[in-house]
């Protein structure tokens, strides 16, 4: 199963409020809860970004900005347990590959405290 297929399956399987506690599950922000097709409808670069970041064990959450669905995503906040040179390198390498593939650029923040992420994220994903 390709990562993207797996991602889409996980997304479709999220049963609303009763979210699976499997190795990886997806939480939607309150803004998009109930709109499970949201990621599926995302333009490919953003979907690819989420798919690739999901593969990193250290990544706990991914937040995309701006929150307005009509605007391009250009800010990515990645929450990891601890921000080290190694975690920054892993995250930036992955995002760079997506940027090169799609000729998109993202402003990246890597933080260890989700409380530092500004409110109003486009999407909120979490490994639990």
């Amino acid at each position: 199963m390709t990562p993207e297929t797996e991602w889409m399956r996980l997304y479709r399987d999220v049963p609303g409020e009763n979210i699976s506690r499997s190795f990886f599950s997806v939480l939607l922000s309150a803004r998009f809860r109930g709109n499970l097709g949201h990621v599926a409808q995302m333009p490919e670069p953003w979907r690819e970004l989420l798919t690739c970041l999901k593969e990193l064990d250290q990544v706990i959450e991914v937040h995309l900005f701006p929150a307005d669905q009509d605007e391009d995503v250009d800010h990515v906040w990645v929450v990891v347990p601890e921000v080290t040179p190694q975690t920054i390198r892993q995250v930036t390498d992955i995002i760079s590959e997506v940027e090169l593939e799609f000729e998109e650029t993202f402003d990246i923040r890597v933080v260890d405290d989700p409380r530092n992420v500004p409110a109003g994220a486009h999407t909120f994903l979490s490994k639990v």
């Binding site: 040179p85 920054i88 760079s96 923040r109």
Partner: protein, 132 residues
């Protein structure tokens, strides 16, 4: 700022790194920030040399894509790196994120080893300084 000034600033920042290391004080955060800003000046030197009509005070014409003014400042410049120096994007992105998180406090400085700093300096010397 012209291309010669960017080269001088890049070299000056590299010398600053040496000064900080010589002081043997805990300036790892500033070493990281100086490394990134050195890289910035080397890539801007390259842009001046290789992009016809490049003017770093008026980047917009080279970067406009989608809504006007979308890419500004560092994001703006990173886009130029992606378009004109794609082989350096990963290292540029790494130096940028390191500098940012060192500056804003997310980076756990206790986990930054002398080897990490040596690796950053190596990247600076072998990839970015070679642009000049």
């Amino acid at each position: 700022v012209d291309e010669a000034a960017h080269k001088l600033k890049g070299e000056r920042n590299e010398r600053f790194i040496v000064e900080l290391e010589t002081a043997k004080l805990d300036y790892k955060d500033w070493i990281i920030v100086a490394a990134f800003y050195s890289a910035i000046h080397y890539v801007m030197y390259h842009f001046h040399k290789r992009i016809r009509g490049y003017d770093d005070t008026r980047d917009e014409p080279f970067l406009r894509r989608g809504p006007q003014g979308r890419f500004r400042g560092h994001l703006h410049r990173k886009r130029l790196v992606m378009l004109h120096l794609p082989k350096l994007l990963k290292d540029y992105e790494y130096l940028y994120a390191m500098a940012r998180e060192a500056r804003y406090g997310s980076l756990n400085m206790a986990r930054v080893t002398p080897q990490d700093l040596a690796d950053m300096k190596h990247v600076l010397a072998t990839k970015f300084r070679l642009l000049t």
